[in-house]
């Protein structure tokens, strides 16, 4: 959203050769960590993220416990070397906001009533960042929660759409994000057309919004299938 003057679409194709409705390559690995109760490694183009789930486990301090259900926590964190200019370790405002939005993206599918007084911790580490880390993190976390055996109504899938050179396109990469006109990360329960997270930066018309929403819904369906396949493979191995 910062600068103009770069042509992001040439001959109907994006700079990395993708069509407007095309996702970057996705790679999913389930159960990659030993200590965590559940884990997932997720690649989306040059984004590399890993999610771990711990719990349900006893919650501290006690007065923060919920007597009726488990408390879900989510921590999005960038490795210092994941970006061009080294990121200082520790939470900043951006990561605090993303953590909140991502937690709310996942809460609708988790059956928290099964484990009162406990907490379920989701930790997402961004190892390499190239625009789209929050959506990659939600996708990874959703699979890691399933891998941890947390009871869930469904999986959550997430992707961003945006506007570049006046066109609504799917899954912006870093250059498109920097020089584009709008970015809209979305998370949804793909099989129910239910949106669990939605943010928008930049500027777009209502029609562009609607078009973007449709693109995102289709893409989330695709991502859902990949998540499901990865989980099935994992359990057929075991």
């Amino acid at each position: 959203m910062k600068e103009e003057g770069i042509e992001l679409i040439k001959d109907g194709k994006r700079l990395d050769g993708r069509g407007f409705d095309e996702l970057r390559p996705i790679k999913i690995e389930v159960g990659v960590l030993k200590r965590a109760d559940g884990s997932c490694y997720f690649e989306l183009g040059d984004n590399k993220v890993i999610a771990a789930v711990y719990g349900p486990r006893e919650m501290h301090p006690r007065h923060a416990q919920d007597a009726k259900m488990a408390v879900l926590k989510y921590r999005y964190n960038m490795a210092p070397f994941s970006v061009d200019e080294r990121k200082r370790p520790g939470p900043d405002r951006r990561s605090v906001e993303i953590s909140k939005v991502s937690r709310e993206a996942l809460e609708p599918v988790i059956i928290k009533e099964f484990y009162p007084k406990t907490e379920i911790d989701v930790y997402v580490e961004i190892l390499q960042s190239d625009a789209g880390t929050r959506t990659a993190g939600i996708n990874a976390a959703s699979v890691a929660l399933a891998d941890a055996g947390i009871p869930m109504k469904d999986l959550v899938s997430s992707v961003a759409v945006g506007k570049i050179d006046g066109e609504v396109v799917l899954d912006l990469n870093a250059v498109e994000d920097n020089y584009g006109e709008a970015d809209m990360p979305i998370a949804m329960i793909a099989r129910r057309n239910t949106i669990t997270a939605l943010q928008m930066d930049g500027r777009m018309t209502k029609d562009e919004f609607e078009k973007g929403l449709k693109l995102a819904m289709n893409a989330c369906q695709q991502i859902y299938e990949l998540q499901r396949t990865a989980l099935i493979e994992r359990y057929s191995e075991m």
């Binding site: 951006r94 906001e97 949106i195 943010q199 928008m200 500027r203 777009m204």
Partner: protein
């Protein structure tokens, strides 16, 4: 424990009202509470406004200070938006550094102003690559009776409407008390879903009772310049579309009446 029971009671009360087509304070589902906007009430600030939406009260002050530009935009001013949920404003707010609620409040307001390009940042350059104006938008919440976002966003844009450059104070040449013209007037409209109904401008009890909501920030030309979904439950796609449409419409009303 007692408090949790109160939460349940309140939720039931609000839902029952809505089922009967009513709201706690007698409004229609799409009505705002009474809104008051007072501009320029803090002399020490370069721009300021006090906004009341019902009992919710927010004070926004804007300060300008010379500072360094970002390396990737050497000829542009910088906007820093900050929100303080001071414990004076609610029994639930605690002293301490910004938490996820105050960070989100600040970032949603910030996103609307940035996305709409309300401020022409290139007008805030003092010396390219060396010195630009930093615009600090400070949101100070005084009384939280729900829907802080709309009040804060309205306060922010109202403050910017009477912004003066304090060039003299910093010994900077020229334009003295020059006003900074705004390019747009983004307005935030927040809605919640309660039992399938869309309620505009939720008060505190409605906010607590609702499980999902959406803020839509839109501009003079009807384009959207920011959105944020809230809450621990999802929203159906068609409900989101409906809210976006309603948000744009209500924003237009507010803009004409108060800005």
């Amino acid at each position: 424990m007692g408090l949790e029971i109160m939460d349940d009671v309140r939720r039931d009360y609000i839902y029952n009202l809505v089922r009967r087509g009513k709201r706690e304070d007698g409004r229609g589902f799409q009505d705002y509470r009474e809104i008051k906007v007072e501009k320029g009430i803090i002399k020490k600030a370069e721009g300021s406004a006090r906004v009341k939406i019902g009992n919710t009260e927010v004070l926004v002050g804007v300060k300008l200070e010379p500072g360094e530009p970002f390396p990737d935009s050497p000829d542009k001013g910088v906007i820093i938006t900050n929100a303080e949920l001071v414990p004076l404003a609610s029994p639930e707010f605690e002293p301490g550094p910004p938490n996820e609620d105050s960070v989100q409040l600040a970032r949603v307001v910030d996103r609307g102003i940035r996305g709409s390009e309300a401020i022409d940042l290139s007008k805030l350059c003092i010396e390219e690559g060396e010195k630009v104006w930093i615009v600090f938008i400070d949101i100070h919440v005084l009384d939280n009776d729900g829907n802080l976002v709309d009040a804060a966003a309205l306060g922010a844009i109202a403050s910017l409407l009477n912004l003066r450059m304090p060039a003299e104070r910093y010994g900077l040449s020229g334009e003295g008390e020059e006003m900074i013209p705004l390019q747009d007037k983004p307005v935030a409209v927040t809605m919640v879903d309660i039992g399938g109904e869309i309620l505009v401008d939720p008060n505190y009890n409605e906010e607590k009772a609702a499980v999902s909501g959406l803020t839509v920030i839109s501009n003079t030309d009807g384009t959207i310049s920011g959105m944020q979904k809230y809450g621990r439950e999802g929203l159906k796609e068609e409900k989101v579309s409906e809210m976006v449409e309603m948000g744009i419409e209500k924003a237009d009303e507010l803009r004409q009446r108060f800005l």
